[in-house]
Amino acid sequence: MDYLYYPGCSLEGTAKEYDISCRALFEALEDRLTEIPDWTCCGATAAQCVDPFLSVVLPARNLALAEKTDTGLDVLVPCSACYLNLKKARQDLWENNALRAQVNQVLEEDGLAVNASVRVRHLLDVLTRDGAVDRVAQLSENRMKGLVIAPYYGCQCLRPYVEFDDPEQPRSMDALIRATGADVLAWDMGAVCCGASTATTKPQVGKELVGRILDQAKTAHAVVTVCPMCQMNLERFQSRSVPVVYLPQFLGLSLGMPAESLGCGMNLSDIRPVLSRVAP
């Protein structure tokens, strides 16, 4: 299937490998990603803090751009923070006509209009519900057999919008991981917060929260993530050496794709244990 693609700022910077692996994986799965032309920042946490209206306008601009493509395709977002901002804006604009009118006045001069009809979906939503599991299973030939993987979901792809998974005990990644031949670590830290942006400003918070999470992952060969902020925190605050990889990186490897094509050199954590297991 085809999707409009909203990478978000992190995927141009600190999470470059997420972007690279995403695009590569979808190509391998023969799904087409069309990047939303001229997309801009969704406002991240900052807009919400300093300017509530702007925190709607910024994502609205991107939704308008997506609608402008007139493809009717869903917008796929790999970054959980961007996903939540876009999704929240879409819901608010959908429900609140006055707000929509107000936003459209701002967008009008750029030749844009938003009617909030486009569907915003997280990468994980797309991978679990649009048939990728079967395709991965076919193509992976159980390449990841013998590995134990800890799926880490973070917060904002699960909450507050309950779309595709249980927000307390998520399971959607299980099928994808099993499709590669790997085993899923039975843990219950998959939906526990890593501290997110608070960890940036208050490192001691990140250190403790991440410590708690990774403690439970010590029997796993790797942690798999679906969010740049989570990935960054898990890699940055670890005291033990646990490989942390993005889900599309892991799936790509399971399909036998070369490590470089998935940006595997850019991870901050030492992911050689994973790579070595899959080396041909």
Partner: protein
């Protein structure tokens, strides 16, 4: 038509249905009782014990009259009565008609039931397939699933299905194509499309191509069941049995919240030590899986530390339950007390609660017993069973915050969840079909002032279908509903079944006792009036005694506070005064009574003439009701002798006096009633911003008056909302111990919070300080959450002092009844026989029976009337095979049995000088037989033979 026997349909065989059916059957009417499951007893058959007896008393519902017409067996094992046709495993198919002429059709599940309605679920998502299969299988549908259209077509080719539920968007062939192909294979297949909200258009399109309907994901299990039930009923309607009934009682109950639905923060189903209270009830039972031991369900190890979590699927918007489920607090109190006392191994029994809802007259004391037994009560809502802290060898770690915000942690072997009561699928379907008025959550809303009446004439409702109900309220409501059905049947001119003993052998039997055909109702408040009216309407004479010079009791001052109560009071008063079967005796009280129970000859006498008697609202006045009058005064009015077979005590009660002296002309300190009256008389300017402090539990729930009056919290909320509505800047602070807003009254609590009323909890011993001088009131307290000293200046301080019953022990004892430890009427069984004394001819209702609001008062009044009518419609009562008999030849008249009988059922007949048994009082307990030194007291069905056989077998075992 008029010689036809009256017949009522009762829907649901839980305790409400059983109670209503038995009341109707005892009154001589026929009952058709339909129950969907395969047994009667409902939720209660899963509760091993009930508080406050800590035993099971369900069989106490069995009738006290004509007992041989009922199997005297445990009601968990079944119910049988000559006048009740019980159809278990039966579905109601349709119901149409009007009072006096409803046609009903119903179908046994074994007779072309749901197992003949196979369902095929097609979805590529496993979770959808699994959950649909679970929901539908539970309701008795055979379910098969397919993960693709191709597989579905295979299954359709192999066997036949009645219903297919299919997803639209699937890999491979989509749902719409499957629809077309399936219809080719099986044209009569009912197909329902399942779709995400985005694809509703496609679903609508599919309906044009033959789909019956569609469902939008994510699904509500109830919506799915209703849809399939509808298809099922349409398909089987022609096989159904048909009948005609005069009235309908809906007693279909409620269902328990499934804790594994939704976000399941407590890991039910995932963590083995997490169980529901029903599961724990089984574990606690000696007949349960652990036998005499309390063991972990998985590890089998002895359980020593148990936690109870309240409000699981109650008071929780996240589970669609803004209301309180009323019963779970007391279930947990009971379970914790039992666990702690039955099993010394239990070192830690800990109940986590938000408000401990020990409403009603016996609960608070019971909770105190639990505290005394060592149960720990922690005011905290455990947010979840913490991730990362898995159940391990040492137990389940439970983390909570104390009020100051400090983190606490304890390990438990078991976590018992107290799931709330929710309306079930049947109820929502039935309410929709019958166009019954429901509340926002799907419970049937009774008409105001008509307990148990729905908006449809002839269809009555009771029990869990009206909202979360405890046993007591369910049983009372069921009797009230039975009375309503009796009234419908009476006005349709229906007859009752003849008394079999009477027709067969009245002349031959000398052991019967009869009742004087009339009722004495003591107390002319709304309870007494409602009871009197209901009894008189059924054709019996009633003497209504009121101490003051007017009828109405507490409703006189409350009528403005309750919407519509004024005109209701007026109507009732007029109806009572105009009734040709009711004799009203105002300014009168009971002097004394003579005769055996049921043949009372009671002397009424004018009350002494003092100014106070015109004031109904002073407790000390009402408490006098029934005490010997002053004979010196009022010699002109002669006393009146009244012969009556039943007596209804409805003497009411009043607001308790505050235990602190109110300052004379004190600046703004009011009791709740005084404040209400001031509000109603516009003596308080609510239009200006006022500062009001309200104090709950003033003297209530404390030694001396250790019960909850149940009405004060809702009244305070009502007053607070009125103040806030009068002026939004009014500052209202309510100081409370536990907000007692059970059931749907929780919404008033939420409303008050929404309106900005501030709630401050306090514990006894840490009561906020109220001081007053001529400048106003001042309150000082420490906020437990903020940990800060706070103060407010208040224009008004309102003390909620609760209800004090007005029944005197002398009056109760005059009729062989008594007061309970709190001064209310002592019921035969607080749960199972809530409106009668041990002697069923002595009834009580209203707030001398138990504290309650107008609705409860009316329900108890109508329940008492139902009992009275059942009794009065029978002339003579004979001992049954389960009551005791006397073998006079052996009797030495030693009277040991009279002393031993706890029920005052044995007496010496002055005419024959023989010992007789009163069949309405005898409970068949056999204590007399054990006590009798001569073997003269016997209970027919308890013969010696089996005992002798056993002893023979033991003594003569082959050597």
């Amino acid at each position: 038509m008029t010689d036809q026997i009256g017949k009522t349909l009762v829907i649901g065989g839980g305790i409400s249905g059983i109670r209503a059916s038995l009341d109707l059957a005892q009154a001589g009417y026929q009952v058709l009782l339909l129950e969907q499951s395969d047994r009667v007893g409902g939720l209660l058959s899963q509760l091993d014990t009930q508080f406050p007896t800590s035993t099971c008393g369900m069989c106490r519902m069995l009738p006290m009259m004509e007992r041989d017409r009922v199997d005297q067996q445990c009601l968990r094992r079944g119910l049988s009565h000559d006048n009740i046709e019980i159809c278990v495993s039966t579905d109601l198919i349709s119901l149409k008609g009007d009072p006096g002429n409803f046609s009903v059709s119903f179908l046994s599940q074994t007779d072309g039931g749901r197992d003949d309605c196979p369902v095929l679920v097609v979805d590529d998502e496993k979770i959808v397939r699994d959950s649909m299969k679970e929901w539908l299988s539970e309701e008795g549908y055979p379910v098969q699933t397919a993960d693709s259209a191709a597989e579905a077509l295979n299954l359709l080719a192999e066997g036949s299905f009645k219903v297919m539920l299919t997803d639209i968007k699937m890999p491979g062939m989509d749902g719409v194509t499957l629809l077309t192909r399936a219809k080719e294979i099986q044209p009569d297949l009912a197909v329902v499309m399942m779709t995400a909200y985005a694809a509703v258009d496609t679903a609508v399109e599919a309906m044009k191509q033959g789909a019956l309907d569609y469902l939008v994901k994510p699904f509500d299990p109830d919506a799915v069941l209703q849809m399939v039930d509808r298809i099922f009923k349409d398909a089987v309607a022609e096989n159904a049995r048909k009948d005609t009934v005069d009235a309908v009682i809906l007693a279909s109950g409620a269902t328990f919240f499934q804790p594994n639905l939704g976000i399941n923060p407590y890991g039910y189903g995932r963590i083995p030590g997490v169980v529901t209270n029903l599961e724990f009830e089984r574990m606690l039972s000696h007949a349960g899986p652990g036998g005499m031991d309390l063991v972990h369900p998985v590890t089998g190890r002895p359980v020593t530390r148990i936690a109870w979590f309240q409000c699981v699927g109650s008071r929780d918007i996240q589970t669609g339950t803004p209301f309180c489920s009323s019963t779970c607090c007391m279930i947990s109190v009971k379970q914790s007390l039992l666990a702690k006392t039955m099993y010394p191994q239990v070192t830690e029994a800990c109940v986590f609660y938000m408000d401990l809802r020990t409403w009603g007259k016996a609960s608070d004391d019971y909770a105190r017993q639990a505290k005394k037994a060592g149960v720990r009560f922690v005011r905290a809502r455990v947010h979840s069973l913490a991730p990362g802290l898995k159940e391990n060898d040492t137990g389940i770690p439970v983390v909570w915050l104390d009020p100051s915000g400090d983190r606490r942690e304890s390990l438990f072997d078991l976590v018992v969840l107290a799931p709330g009561q929710h309306p079930d699928a049947f109820l929502s379907g039935f309410a929709k079909d019958q166009e019954l008025t429901t509340d926002d959550w799907g419970f049937v809303r009774p008409e105001p002032f008509l307990s148990g009446h729905t908006n449809r004439p002839g269809i009555f409702v009771c029990g869990g279908a009206t909202g979360p109900r405890d046993i007591h309220d369910s049983v009372t409501g069921a009797s009230a509903a039975a009375l309503s059905a009796m009234q419908v049947m009476a006005s349709a001119g229906r007859q009752t079944v003849q008394n079999p003993e009477k027709t067969e052998s009245t002349g031959l039997r000398s052991d019967g006792v009869s009742l004087f055909p009339g009722a004495l109702v003591i107390g002319g408040g709304i309870a007494g009036m409602a009871a009197a009216l209901a009894i008189a309407d059924q054709g019996f004479d009633v003497d209504l005694v009121e101490k003051t010079d007017h009828l109405g009791g507490n409703l006189v001052w409350l009528q403005t506070a309750i919407e519509g109560a004024g005109s209701f009071l007026e109507e009732q008063t007029a109806a009572v005064q105009g009734h040709d079967r009711i004799r009203i005796h105002t300014r009168t009280c009971v002097a004394d009574t003579m005769g055996r129970p049921g043949q009372w000859n009671t002397r009424l006498t004018p009350v002494k003439d003092t100014a106070e008697n015109t004031d109904a609202d002073r407790p000390e006045q009402l408490a006098e009701n029934g005490s010997p009058p002053d004979k010196s005064s009022g010699g002109k009015s002669p006393d009146v002798q009244v012969r009556h077979g039943v007596v209804v005590l409805a003497v009411g009660g009043a607001e308790a006096s505050p235990d602190r002296p109110l300052p004379d002309n004190g600046p703004g300190i009011y009791t709740q009633q005084q404040f209400q009256q001031a509000l109603d008389q516009d003596a308080i300017d609510t239009g200006s911003p006022l500062h009001v402090a309200m104090f709950q539990c003033q003297g209530s729930r404390e030694p001396g008056r250790d019960y909850c009056s149940r009405i004060c919290c809702p009244r305070s909320l009502d007053q607070a909302l009125r103040l806030k509505a009068g002026h939004p800047d009014s500052r209202v602070v309510i100081f409370y111990r536990d907000m007692m807003t059970p059931g749907l009254s929780e919404s008033a609590y939420t409303e008050a919070r929404k309106a900005g009323v501030v709630f401050v909890p306090y514990e006894p011993g840490n009561t906020p300080e109220l001081a007053a001088d001529n400048t106003g009131c001042r309150v000082n307290w420490t906020d437990p959450i903020l940990g800060r000293a706070m103060e407010m200046a208040a224009d008004y301080a309102v003390l909620a002092t609760g209800i004090q019953p007005g029944l005197s022990r002398d009056l109760a004892r005059l009729f062989g009844a008594d007061l309970d430890r709190s001064g209310f009427f002592d019921q035969a069984d607080i749960k199972w026989r809530p409106v009668e004394a041990m002697d069923p001819r002595v009834l009580a209702c209203g707030i001398c029976l138990e504290p309650g609001n107008l609705a409860l008062t009316l329900a108890s009044a109508r329940a008492a009337a139902a009992k009275a009518v059942s009794l009065l419609s029978r002339e003579t009562f004979f001992p049954g095979k389960d009551t005791a008999r006397v073998r006079s030849a052996f009797c030495s008249l030693c009277q040991i049995c009279i002393d031993a009988c706890p029920f005052n059922a044995r007496f010496i007949d002055p005419e024959t000088r023989t010992l007789k048994v009163d069949p309405l009082a005898c409970q068949g307990c056999g204590i007399c037989a054990a006590a009798c030194p001569s073997g003269a007291a016997v209970v027919t069905d308890r013969s010696l033979a089996p005992m002798i056989k056993t002893i023979h077998a033991v003594l003569n075992q082959p050597l």
